[in-house]
Symmetry: C2
Subunit: 329 residues, 2 copies
């Protein structure tokens, strides 16, 4: 059987994760990486894979089955996504929740115009967490769904810390509250405040001569980002930050706590949890599995946009439905 | 919109659970229950729903959209399933793992002969656990999948306990080993023996004059059932058994521990866990959600057998794909 031919658009942490995830599959091959940077400056993990300028991508229409889009949701995907979906089957990790309907519509129209398949919002949230919210509420219609995030590095909150005057460098971790998770797991359905669900930990390198107390106060009182949370600030050296805080862990929990039975008095708790040592490598692994689904849907003659919610699970596995039923049911 | 018209075949714990689960939906209605017992002796939760003899079921072909089959996998489904799938859309919880391919083939042929849809092996294992094994291995191809069951009442093992001479009544619980789960959660990928993964707890009422030590010895050394496990036996009175051990809790864990990255050194752990206060009520809730999918697949003109692995998640939700994307992505 011929392999599914993949192109990667954008080579940051996510693009690199996709390259590595593809190397763990037997049924997919990486044809090339497309970058807006000077291709000579893009160093792949596998130096035998060619890097092409993004501007030349249309020349590769006949050589690529699925493009995996590894750009950002804010600036890259809204523009690149529809332009590429008109000419290629695509998979992306669009994650701006409020703009999903609009992006889906744009990708659907573009993909249909070219007879292609576009799979959007692939990853873990949105993505696997969305799937678990769906299974939970469909199976247990009476109940509550809870999402907790972390422990994980938050890019947006780390940026906010770094904008505080006196901060030279820093990172922020979001941590789920273990007591809150235990309450939810127990089958109670508490109403939890923002402060009760998560706390925040900041690790900060001060500028020469900056006032630690002032910096800490500026962080913990920052509206929207920290004021509603219990936040701790730890100061450390630049070397310590580099050594101890360079990884990109993340994860979280989706818990559906439902009720069944004659008087709706039977507790049923469904939990999905991720503990990821690398957020981009995991998201990349999900993208690669759904690239397989995109290729199959296109092979069936399907067209238009999809999210993981509308894709049969068997389509993401390299195994046949027969083999999956025999091994996994 | 007209409601999906449901019939229940078989009214034991599972059938009753289905009746109760249907009452929590807004888009489905129970048309009737079909039983091989004398209908006058079958007491439903809602006495306004008619009970019909199983032998008359073919008369209801035009009044029922989906039949939910609540018989057992050993004796009932292999015979009833294909007979009914020839005339109705069906959903069942067939769970004899080794016979799934054979049952799927029989249901597929029967359903196609009548232009119907048959969804098999719906529940949590097989079912939701199977789905999570699939997502786990497709996303993290390098890794190990672990399944732990319990704490839960095991019907087969309880029957084995009750067959021991001197035992008047009793139940058996399967318990997952917490230390083993913690090792797997940590990202290590241990090889675990049967004894390391689960232990067993028996609660036994002795016959008048039976020798407790002898009964305990007979249980803990029983081949296949108990000899390979750490098993405890607790003796109690018939009243205590009834008061403390009448519920049917169950649950368990599916954990995929995978590796990503350049040298496959990044740990990624995906966990799915169920804590069910009533096993039959939860299985019934899954059946009802997949009855919705069966009705939709049939409405699209699909035919033949399906398992949850081949069914797009959105099909089990009462919400539209647009609403699901807006709310859950």
């Amino acid at each position: 059987m011929s392999k599914i031919r993949i192109g990667i658009v954008g080579y940051g942490n996510l693009g690199r994760g996709v390259e590595l995830a593809l190397s763990l599959t037997d049924d997919m091959q990486l044809i090339g990486v497309f970058s807006r940077r000077d291709p000579a400056t893009v160093q792949l993990a596998d130096s035998s894979v060619p890097v092409h300028p993004y501007s030349a991508i249309d020349d590769f229409r006949d050589q690529i089955d699925v493009l995996i889009l590894c750009g950002g949701s804010k600036d890259d995907l809204p523009e690149q996504g529809p332009a590429l979906a008109a000419h290629f089957n695509t998979v992306d990790s669009f994650d701006t929740h409020a703009r999903v309907p609009e992006y889906f519509a744009a990708m659907d129209a573009a993909a249909r115009s070219g007879g292609n398949v576009a799979v959007i919002s692939v990853g873990w949230d949105p993505g696997l967490f969305s799937l678990n919210r769906l299974y939970g509420e469909a199976i247990l219609p009476k109940g509550e769904t809870y999402t907790f995030w972390g422990k994980g590095l938050s890019q947006g909150h780390s940026d906010a810390v770094r904008r505080v005057p006196g901060v030279k460098a820093g990172v922020q971790y979001t941590l789920p509250s273990e007591p809150a998770i235990e309450r939810v797991r127990s089958g109670s359905r508490p109403t939890l405040s923002t402060r009760e669900k998560h706390r925040r930990e900041c690790f900060v390198v001060l500028e020469e001569g900056a006032d630690a107390a002032q910096v800490e106060q500026a962080i913990v009182t920052m509206p929207n980002y920290f004021a509603d949370f219990d936040t701790t600030v730890t100061f450390l050296s630049e070397a310590e930050l580099r050594e101890q805080h360079s990884a990109m862990p993340h994860g979280g929990f989706v818990i559906r706590s439902g009720l069944t039975g004659a008087d709706q008095s039977t507790n049923q708790v469904v939990e999905f949890a991720l503990k990821l040592d690398s957020n981009p490598e995991f998201t990349a692994s999900v993208l690669v599995a759904y690239a397989r689904a995109a290729s199959r849907l296109a092979g069936q003659g399907q067209q238009g946009a999809y999210s993981p919610l509308e894709i049969a699970p068997a389509l993401i596995s390299p195994k046949s439905p027969e083999q999956l039923r025999k091994e996994l049911l």
